[in-house]
């Protein structure tokens, strides 16, 4: 054994009490602050038994909310994924003026309040918005309709995929693509056979986080939704409506679905970090 290892074991051996104390304190903080709320969600959801729980989830408004949530995510996530790949391609593979400004703009939606991310769409398309009169004349509904929910969700989840891909693709450089092109492969073939396999796990990671946020978003969609039950309430808004109606079992039953989504996301994300750490951005490596 090296001297350094001896020193560190002796320092660990000298303070066993403190180590245990710190571990216990950490577990306590996590338990009270983070895990207890998760536990409460499931406890309250099943407070009146499984049949009541199932009935709350099978209620038509709940099913409509689930469908709407899936629809909004199914539009928002692929669009942001395509954007993320395109933006990462420009930024990682090319040198151009204004790159850092572009990066700042891409990160911008992360530093804006979700409520503001909803508000901006109302300023554009609401009844008194810039395009409001035109929309009313042509009978197009954006605010208080699915389109508004999609737009707000897209804005909130805008940077997720791009942010995962850009650092990774910058690390990878463009030697492999250049080699393929030199050997006569076409641009599309090179992208499909070289770039995509290289970034697939990071892309999946970004899509996973983007999807979780898209399905769970509350503030931004709450501003543009209008809370029309069964029509413009996504699952998180459905939770709010039921909670405010004092239907706690219903609210927590819907919330348990969202919490499960969060847990599944967490498990998949952790699995990706453990198994494919080399193929994710440096910051995600454990």
């Amino acid at each position: 054994m090296t001297a350094a290892a001896n020193v560190s074991t002796s320092s660990k051996a000298r303070l066993p009490g403190l180590a245990i104390l710190l571990v216990l304190a950490s577990v306590a903080v996590m338990g009270v602050l983070v895990l207890f709320p998760l536990f409460i969600v499931f406890k309250e959801a099943f407070a009146k038994g499984l049949p009541t729980y199932l009935a709350a989830i099978r209620e038509p408004d709940a099913l409509a909310a689930i469908r709407l949530t899936l629809l909004v995510a199914a539009i928002a996530v692929p669009l942001n994924a395509v954007f993320g790949v395109a933006a990462a391609w420009c930024i990682a593979k090319f040198e151009f003026r204004g790159k850092s400004f572009l990066l700042t703009l891409i990160d911008l939606p992360f530093s804006i309040s979700p409520v503001v991310s909803g508000l901006v769409w109302v300023l554009l398309f609401g009844a008194q918005g810039w395009f409001g009169t035109w929309l009313i004349e042509h009978d197009v509904k954006i605010i208080f309709a699915t389109t508004g929910l999609v737009l707000a969700t897209i804005l909130v989840t805008f940077p997720f995929v791009a942010r995962e891909l850009i650092p990774l693709m910058q690390d990878q450089g463009s030697d492999e693509e250049a080699a393929a092109l030199t050997l006569g492969a076409g641009g599309f073939t090179t992208f499909w056979k070289i770039t995509i396999p290289n970034i697939k796990w990071a892309l999946l990671y970004g899509v996973l986080l983007c999807n979780a946020r898209a399905m769970g978003e509350f503030g931004a969609v709450s501003v543009v939704s209008g809370h029309i039950r069964g029509l413009t309430t996504t699952l998180p808004l459905h939770v709010e409506v039921l909670y405010n109606d004092y239907d706690f079992v219903g609210a927590f039953a819907a919330a348990s679905l969202l919490a499960s989504l969060g847990l599944v996301t967490l498990v998949l994300k952790t699995a990706l970090e453990w198994r494919h750490s080399g193929e994710l951005s440096a910051s995600r490596r454990h």
Binding site: A4, S8, S11, L22, V29, V32, L33, V34, P37, I40, L79, F83, A86, A87, W89, C90, K93, F94, E95, F96, R97, L102, L105, I106, P109, S111, I112, S113, P114, V115, V116, V120, L124, G129, W130, L151, I154, F158, S174, A178, L181, M215, G216, F218, G219, V223, P236, L237, V239, E240, F248, A251, F252, A255, L258, A259, L261, L266, K269, S283
Partner: protein, 295 residues
């Protein structure tokens, strides 16, 4: 003039260099115009156009009107509450985050990796879910709220409740900011300090803390920025009493419901502006600390 900067097209090798605009360096890779076209069009429609509206709409009130809208008692109270509580929660998260990051990187114990993964739970749990769960826990008849109520402390529907929600939402930012730095710290430096007679507390304060200070500050400022805009996890537990427990994002919602678009935009713009100002100050402190560490 620019002709001299551009390399000779004939040196492109087997693959011809593609024609790109002047502000892009030549490359043999294809697809720049398409990818940049998609990026700029999408960015313009989704981010720039809406944010332009946010910047311009308040001007309908005129500059004095904006000032009046922001200094109106209820708005000023909400802004003060949001920024004040966010700052306190972010600062309290500093020792909590340090504690968690320290135990997760320095000690080996059963369940460590699970605990590590669970740190991200506040990110993964949708905010509305966290909101109603926290409210249930800290309501006067809730499992923890009852305990606090016995000693006469009101948690839910008070600023303390908002603080707890902001603590919950900000914790992962601090832990995740410090963790990699704590992992990469040169243990030899700590050991050198130990050999020179520093005890463990001295090592923690004089060796480890300066090394992680910049990342700690960035973690705390990320938690702060997130807390200022946070809505879903706070709005249920806040109680939303005007002047007392009404947060700034909620005020935007209320103003929109009254069709006061310009007023709502003014509050939104103020939030964005104050957050940016705070982040710039924090950034400057960070650069100062990093510079001092290098000397």
């Amino acid at each position: 003039m620019s002709d001299q900067i551009l390399p000779n097209p004939s040196v492109g090798g087997a693959v011809a260099r593609r024609r790109l605009p002047r502000w892009v360096e030549p490359s043999i890779l294809p697809g720049f115009p398409l990818a940049m076209g998609i990026t700029l069009a999408y960015l313009g429609l989704i981010v720039i156009l809406p944010l332009t509206a946010l910047a311009i709409r308040p001007l309908e009130l005129g500059l004095s009107g904006i000032w009046q809208a922001l200094t109106e008692d209820r708005v000023a109270a909400a802004l003060k509450l949001s920024f004040g509580l966010s700052a306190i929660a972010a600062l309290v998260n500093a020792p909590l985050g340090l504690l968690l990051a320290w135990t997760l990187t320095r000690y080996e114990f059963p369940g460590r990796r699970i605990l590590d993964a669970l740190v991200d739970l506040p990110f993964a749990l949708p905010t509305a879910v966290a909101g109603i769960a926290l409210t249930t826990i800290y309501a006067p008849n809730g499992p923890l709220g009852e305990l606090f109520a016995k000693v006469g402390i009101k948690t839910a529907y008070s600023p303390l409740g908002i603080f707890i929600a902001l603590l919950f939402i900000g914790l992962p930012f601090v832990v995740r900011a410090i963790q990699p730095v704590l992992q990469d710290i040169d243990r030899e430096v700590e050991e050198a300090a130990q050999t020179l007679g520093a005890n463990s507390l001295q090592r923690a304060v004089f060796v480890v803390l300066p090394a992680i200070a910049p990342s700690l500050i960035s973690g705390v400022s990320l938690a702060f920025a997130r807390a200022v805009g946070e809505y879903g996890s706070v709005v249920f537990i806040a109680g939303n009493m005007p002047m007392k427990t009404e947060i700034a994002p909620l005020l935007i919602v209320i103003k929109l419901e009254q069709y006061d678009y310009a007023g709502a935009a003014a509050v939104g713009l103020a939030m964005v502006g104050i957050s940016f100002g705070a982040l710039i100050v924090i950034n400057a402190v960070q650069i100062f600390l990093a510079g001092r560490g290098r000397r």
